[in-house]
């Protein structure tokens, strides 16, 4: 009721609060990036300001004489392959579950959905044994089937809802034209559920790219490491080379941040939906 009087201070308070939090979010990222361009002394003397003289040795050593480009490539391959397989297998299965009208398909669907509630880490002990048996241990490829298995429940769940929403007439017409189920899947279903495929991809992209656990327990050999696993070496090996440590840290999160900033809306809705419903 005392609205008019209070409105402005209240509004100011809101902006102060969000502004403060924004600083708290950006400050660590800022210090990481600016200090990666500084000389060691400058980091100690002036940890927050812009660099007075540019030190690129951190970045140069990362690109020229270190395994990090290799780690980066490994992570890229793991992420792209896992996502492609998740989307392909997931959409096939969702399509099958929707079109197959029987209680078995219902069971299969529920079986997938049950995976949403189970953290796969619980199975780590056995997964480690399986990787040893399959001779995948200590290879970059070892993490791919685990990520695929991890991503399938959310993929099947999301795509099932979408595919079920596609009007039957659309596929019926193609059926009369003599198109087989696979043709229908490939030329109609996949096209129509593209937004859902994007959501599934975004939801899985971030955890796969950022995962430490499975590379850590499966991979020791240097050349096979993913980027995030490679980052764990930093503090052991370059103990005091801060510009290098910070350069690597910056490089390891910049790709995702750029991707995020270009598609913030999709990321926020994808990750939130995935976290909740997945």
């Amino acid at each position: 009721m005392a609205g008019i009087k209070v409105r402005d201070p209240a509004k100011a308070l809101k902006y102060i609060l969000l502004g403060f939090w924004s600083l708290l979010v950006l400050f660590p990222l800022w210090t990481m990036v600016v200090n990666s361009f500084k000389f060691k002394n400058a980091i100690y003397l002036d940890p927050f300001g812009l660099p007075k003289s540019l030190n690129l040795t951190g970045y140069l050593t990362v690109f020229q004489n270190s395994p990090f480009p290799r780690y980066f490539l490994n992570s890229l391959i793991v992420t792209v392959v896992s996502l492609s397989v998740i989307l392909f297998f997931g959409s096939l299965a969702a399509y099958g579950c929707v079109r197959w009208k029987s209680r078995y398909s219902r069971w299969i669907y529920l079986f997938f959905v049950a995976g949403l509630t189970v953290p796969i880490k619980i199975g780590s002990v056995n997964l480690l044994q399986i990787m040893i048996k399959l001779h995948l241990i200590d290879t970059t490829w070892s993490v791919v089937p685990v990520y695929v298995a991890m991503g399938l429940p959310i993929a099947v769940f999301t795509l099932y809802e979408f595919i079920r929403g596609i009007p039957v007439e659309l596929t019926e017409a193609a059926l009369i034209d003599g198109a087989g189920p696979y043709k229908i899947y490939w030329s109609i279903i996949v096209r129509l559920v593209r937004p859902a495929l994007a959501t599934v991809a975004i939801f899985n992209l971030v955890p796969i790219w950022n995962d430490l656990w499975f590379p850590l327990i499966f991979i020791r050999r240097d050349s096979q490491r993913t980027l995030i696993l490679g980052v764990t070496r930093l503090f052991g090996e370059y103990q005091t080379d801060w510009s290098k440590i910070l350069a690597v840290l910056s490089l390891s999160c910049v790709p995702v941040i750029i991707l995020y900033l270009t598609m913030a809306k999709q990321f926020i809705s994808g990750l939130t939906a995935g976290a909740v419903k997945g």
């Binding site: 189970v118 002990v125 997964l127 399986i130 995962d211 910070l246 976290a275």
Partner: protein, 318 residues
């Protein structure tokens, strides 16, 4: 007509074929290992093969062997503290941010939303390392700022003191994940129909009363979801401690969580020996699973949601 009937008749096997690739991978690398890991908790063996059935022996050791149980109960307790701090911070800030962002005529919603959510997209490991640098007792930004504003006495070795280390890590984790509850609360608030607010206004309810009587009750289911999410995430958390303190949960196991304890027992091996006790590790994982399951059931009961609105974020160490 006949052909379409024929298609339908033979579809059973055909549609099964469509689900098969996904089923095979999902069973082989998720369903089976999860169940089999629980079975393995009843076995022991040397190295990576477990072939000696020992009944409940691993569980007995976990709960009663003085060397093991002290670590287990410390990690168990720490995980609850870790969880409690995050619940407090994330729900409070999440609701607060969401209330501000959902305000009518609030400018800059998209901007702030984007910033608040940035940390969610970062790797937990990288976040942990950055904050470890910032919290460095000698030249970390936090202590420099504290000294500059005359609070030098508060410039503590945050990560090295048993009294502050766990809280510090929990706050870093909250910093990282608060974007998720914020977005969930925001979505929850935006789902509330405007008529409800108008009705409240007509009844003479002010801002605070509208919040307490209209918004908060409608947000309670979201609080339930956030709790379950945080709970599952925290009982699997590993990366943040690994990055900021190391897998042993120093100082003096003050930051040892279920995740790090599991890693040491089942995967990496305890400190001096370095040989994993995989049977025991499987038992730790199984206990974690049981706790999670009980927690999720309880949360569903409390918030009155029948359907399991449970998360799968879990694996990512939320």
């Amino acid at each position: 007509m006949t052909s379409s009937i024929k298609v339908r008749k033979e579809s059973g096997a055909l549609w099964l074929l469509y689900t098969l690739p996904a089923l095979v991978v999902y069973i082989a690398f998720m369903a089976f290992p999860v169940v089999n890991s629980m079975r393995l908790s009843f076995f022991t063996g040397s190295g990576y093969s477990l072939d000696n059935f020992v009944g409940f022996n691993n569980y007995v050791r976990l709960f009663t062997d003085p060397n093991i149980s002290v670590r287990f109960f410390t990690a168990f307790r720490n995980t609850w503290v870790f969880f409690a701090i995050q619940m407090l911070v994330q729900n409070t800030l999440g609701v607060l941010f969401a209330l501000i962002l959902s305000g009518k005529g609030f400018k800059g919603k998209g901007f702030f939303r984007t910033i608040i959510f940035i940390p969610v997209t970062l790797s937990v490991l990288v976040t942990g390392y950055i904050w470890k640098l910032i919290l460095n007792p000698e030249w970390g930004a936090v202590n420099i700022i504290l000294t500059k504003i005359g609070l030098g006495s508060l410039a503590l070795p945050w990560l090295g003191d048993t009294r502050t280390a766990l809280a510090a890590i929990s706050l870093v984790s909250s910093w990282q994940w608060v974007g998720l509850p914020t977005m969930m609360f925001l979505a929850g608030l935006e789902r509330i129909p405007d008529e409800l607010f108008e009705a409240a206004q007509i009844d003479g309810a002010g801002g605070w009363l509208t919040f307490a009587k209209v918004k908060l009750p409608l947000l309670m289911p979201v609080v339930g979801i956030v709790s379950v999410l945080t709970f599952v995430g925290n009982f699997n958390a590993f990366d943040v401690v690994f990055a900021m303190e190391g897998a042993n949960g120093p100082p003096d196991y003050a930051t040892d969580l279920m995740g790090t304890f599991f890693y040491r027992t089942g995967i990496a091996g305890q400190h001096p020996i370095g040989i994993p006790d995989m049977g025991l590790g499987a038992a730790v994982a199984t206990v974690t699973f049981v706790v999670l399951f009980a927690g999720i059931l309880l949360a569903n009961r409390l918030t009155g949601r029948g359907e399991a609105e449970a998360p799968r974020r879990a694996g990512e160490g939320a």
